[in-house]
Symmetry: C2
Subunit: 354 residues, 2 copies
């Protein structure tokens, strides 16, 4: 039976990427070797890394604007540390929009003063704070563009002269933004880009080198830029599969094309949440994420019935995060409109049944 | 044509592991989902992680001895930093046996005094220093058990009360050692364990928590122990494939069985190097690595002929590292005796031809 995978991450990737990656594990490019056993210094892999880096910049429309793309290890959790280690001199601002922002703040506090410019903590992060003041003496302001757990998403970014850093782990490559408003963007691969194990960093090179702190080599962005993202053995398979996914996105028409599809999918699920009296949305309407739709049953007694129904329909991964409860349908780039329609049908069936 | 892959790493893994991993990328355990799209919090993956951790301890005979196994990201290069961050209070000793030791020393210097207890630098690291003194006020002594670039390997480890830390990236799971003499062992996966992107750390829990330094969460071994190696999204596919490789090793008879095979392979290649007048070994005989055999042509004029011959035979990855030159045959666990015999045949053919 066809599966509809709504996992929050690691998550669905394009089926053709799964096929090509699977084939490469057996026999990469007809070389007689597995992608897992080739040297990362081989021309084959160096080409893969360069293609992945250049596709990332091209898709974000950041070519020729002073940015470098890196594929490193360690996920966003490592970037919480690296951003502060490299860029925090005295004081930085953080917009607290949930668990991931909070973790970023925790690590940054080891390196300087942290100002929480605003927070939606008191309402369990079900909205995005707006209209907050940004002190003018910040080294940077850190934002989380999409909050997977709560299903909220920043629709607008502050107009400011302060350097902007953004954790885009769960919505990069999903919508058109002027990416050049950020000095540094990072994203774990495991949502819209590839398998877990790679992390994309997009950094404007001229922001580096301003702290007097001694930065360990592996944590220093400049180390990785100087070595073309090959300072140490990269996560070969994750980078390769990310490259395949970025190629798929480019062929599809890039971010403009996928954004159109993502909007259709989001509209479909949110319409059902709003029109079906059995469900209610968790996030404030104007801040709803086009990547993660969070909702709950109005009547918890229907849980068992609903859970059996969606499992029966081949749906997977819609249990909500424990800190929100209910359900979360993650509708990342590679999830089809058909999968969303299947879920919406089940929600409609429940209404007719109940 | 069958390929004989002597790559120094990433390197060959068992063919049945490639097959199973390839299948799992398409359809993991008949779930209808790819291993790349399942949640790391799913029971399926939690089981994989626990099996990998427990197989590592079992194969090293470290179960029930106070050790924890972790599968993290970032490679040995990250461990150069983490070991010092977690364990270096005032002074540590390092045995300098090559490029990787040197890199470990460089990172540790950010955290305390470093004593180089001995070095073979003056002879381009072609031997392992012995009989050196170990100061009795060290927080730990750091060793590199196998030096991939130079083809040297520590056959004996110092008898000392000093806490021993060992980088075993290129020979873990290849030979029987009393692993309990070490307080911490680390190894990038990409030689004997799995694909690039995972790093195994084996740490005796009671050595932690002794420094007053504030350790960032992601660099703190205790964080990862507390979270059962799932503090953040792990490199799912690399851990899965490592688990498959460790299962393969266990089925084969564990380290005892593979060591016997590794000794046969090493004997075969080194006999040819010693008996064939066209070649000479690089490393001192008593320190020769059973993982990486380094050798050069006595007469460089034969290079073109020899290179054409081994390529013709389906051999891959034997070019030496630039800092040593010549050739390096990496004969890791998954490389067959047949592949070594193929290389030895080509070396013999060259002698008959020349």
């Amino acid at each position: 039976m066809k599966k509809h995978n709504f996992s929050a991450g690691p998550c669905i990737l394009p089926q053709e990427v799964f096929k090509e990656a699977s084939q490469a594990v057996l026999n990469f490019n007809n070389s007689g070797l597995s992608i897992l056993e080739i040297s990362h210094r081989s021309k084959d892999f160096v080409d893969i890394m360069e293609e992945a880096r250049s596709l990332a910049l091209e898709l974000l429309d950041l070519e020729g604007k002073g940015y470098k793309a890196l594929f490193l290890q360690g996920g966003a959790s490592t970037q919480f540390l690296m951003t502060a280690y490299n860029l925090l001199q005295t004081k930085a601002g953080y917009l607290n929009t949930g668990a991931w922002s909070r973790k970023a703040i925790k690590e940054a506090k080891l390196f300087g003063d942290i100002v929480e410019v605003a927070s939606s903590k008191d309402s369990n992060f079900n909205f995005i704070p707006k209209g907050y003041d940004i002190p003018d003496d910040l080294d940077y302001l850190h934002l989380t563009s999409n909050n997977t757990i709560y299903g909220t998403q920043l629709k607008d970014f502050p107009s400011t002269n302060t350097s902007l850093i953004c954790d885009m782990s769960s919505d990069i490559f999903s919508r058109q933004i002027d990416f050049s408003q950020f000095d540094l963007i990072y994203a774990g691969a495991q949502k819209n880009m590839g398998p877990a194990g790679a992390t994309l960093i997009i950094v404007k090179e001229d922001i580096l080198g301003k702290t007097n702190r001694k930065i360990p080599s592996i944590l220093d962005y400049q180390t990785h830029i100087n070595k073309s993202s090959m300072f140490n053995t990269p996560p070969v398979f994750s980078v390769y599969t990310s490259m395949l996914t970025l190629k798929w996105l480019k062929k599809l028409g890039g971010i403009t094309a996928i954004e159109e599809l993502n909007e259709k999918k989001a509209k479909l699920i949110y319409s059902e949440i709003d029109l079906n009296p059995l469900f209610q949305g968790f996030a404030a309407k104007e801040d709803r994420s086009n990547m993660n739709a969070t909702f709950t049953l109005v009547n918890e007694d229907l849980k068992e019935t609903f859970d059996a129904m969606w499992k029966e329909a081949g749906i997977n991964g819609i249990n909500g995060h424990r800190s929100v409860g209910g359900y979360r349908a993650s509708i990342y780039n590679a999830l089809t409109l058909e999968s969303v329609a299947t879920l919406v049908d089940v929600m409609g069936d429940l209404e007719r049944k109940a």
